[in-house]
Subunit: 212 residues, 2 copies
DNA sequence: CAAAAAATCACCCTATAGGGTGATTGACAG
DNA sequence: CTGTCAATCACCCTATAGGGTGATTTTTTG
């Protein structure tokens, strides 16, 4: 079974070298190449020329950029998208994955990485080239480190949870079947326990998991 | 230059087959193998026997589990940790990465994946085996989908951002060098734009990325 | 260039939040 | 069995938030 690939890259040299490299593989067929995302989108809107292809999408395109193109593409079809990028910037990577790219490969990783990525995606997996994976892993590592944990009594925690959903003291009192004064009391003690002085600070801590 | 590797896996068959496979490589030296994380930690506490080794850590260990072991290890030393796991469960994967593992490999991906992972980590990259990468990518994709986006004018966005950090109207006014009345005005318009009726609801939307 | 939207400020008034102090009850640990 | 702490409630008072209305000026944009 052939793997159908479409390449979008504004750099003709990159485009051609990737195409030639991939076509040398016995199981890959490059069905089309584009220099601009707009051209690909136009083709996509016209024909359904690719049943289930894999799209190699450069992130630094002139005009409609690679990132902005993703939602447009997803509206019409649902190819597996492998992003190609010259640099490994965390925000670009996370953005691309959030928008629905299945893989992300740094051009520095070389043609073999692109081939590996295509083969993995074809089998239902996802591929992140080494430096890209490093950024993604780093995102998780930084996000949950270095914060003291607060352990709250049950009711204080309940109140905090309700606060974080935007309820007023009165609403919380009704839901918990206690008086507003008690709610206030819980909140005051909670603020001391957590060493904060208002709702927003408390909710911020609650939201990023520093409270249990 | 040799790459020093330590293996922790309770399954003797896995342990030995990985060790033999790795030692067949010319540039890798398996300096020690353990069946339990506790034994490794004891060695680590005693000697500084490994300058900068790579640790292959099984996630399903009896006693001190692979995940629980990570913080203990990090307290004493800082090896690059590659998690090995039989299954690809999103929560385990994210937990491991949050705790500071640099890579995560499914045992189903085979010995070659382990070798590739070690080589990549040795070069400063990170490696996620295909199905694992799929889970991680899926985490981003699901987390930001299917919610209407609000696009706010610049100042309203600035105010919202400041609100989300717990500042009062007065503090925001000072920081932005405008009057409190203007801050209030921005906030009122912002609430209408976002269809919310208080700070907390607005911040909740802001926090999970529905606002730009 | 004209209309729309963004940004600025003002004054009205009410609702909600939050700090302090103190009391009662029941559970639990030393 | 006595002190600590969670949970409940009450009253005092001030600060902060938020809704309505309306005005002026600048910026954007069709």
């Amino acid at each position: 079974m052939y793997t159908s690939v479409i390449i979008i890259d504004d750099d003709a040299i990159v485009r051609e070298s990737v195409r030639m490299f991939l076509e040398a593989q016995s199981d890959i067929e490059v069905i089309q190449c584009f220099g601009r995302a707009e051209d690909y989108l136009a083709e996509l809107a016209k024909n359904q020329f690719q049943p289930n292809h894999i799209l190699l999408l450069d992130i630094g395109l002139p005009g409609l950029g690679g990132l902005e193109a993703i939602p447009e593409i997803k509206q019409i079809a649902d190819p597996d998208i492998i992003m190609l990028s010259t640099y490994e910037e965390e925000d670009k990577i996370l953005k691309a994955l959030s928008l629905g790219a299945t893989s992300y490969i740094s051009k520095r990783a070389g043609l073999k990485a692109i081939l590996e990525g295509i083969q993995i995606v074809q089998k239902g997996g996802a591929y992140l080239s080494p430096a890209v994976a490093r950024e993604v892993v780093g995102f998780f590592a930084q996000s949950k480190r270095k914060k003291e944990e607060f352990e709250l009594p049950a009711r204080q925690y309940e109140v905090l949870s309700a606060l974080s959903e935007g309820r007023t003291y009165q609403e919380i009192a009704n839901e918990m079947s206690i008086s507003v004064e008690t709610v206030r009391s819980h909140i005051k003690k909670m603020y001391r326990n957590m060493q904060v002085k208002n709702k927003v600070e408390a909710i911020n801590l609650y939201m990023n998991g520093s409270v249990k």
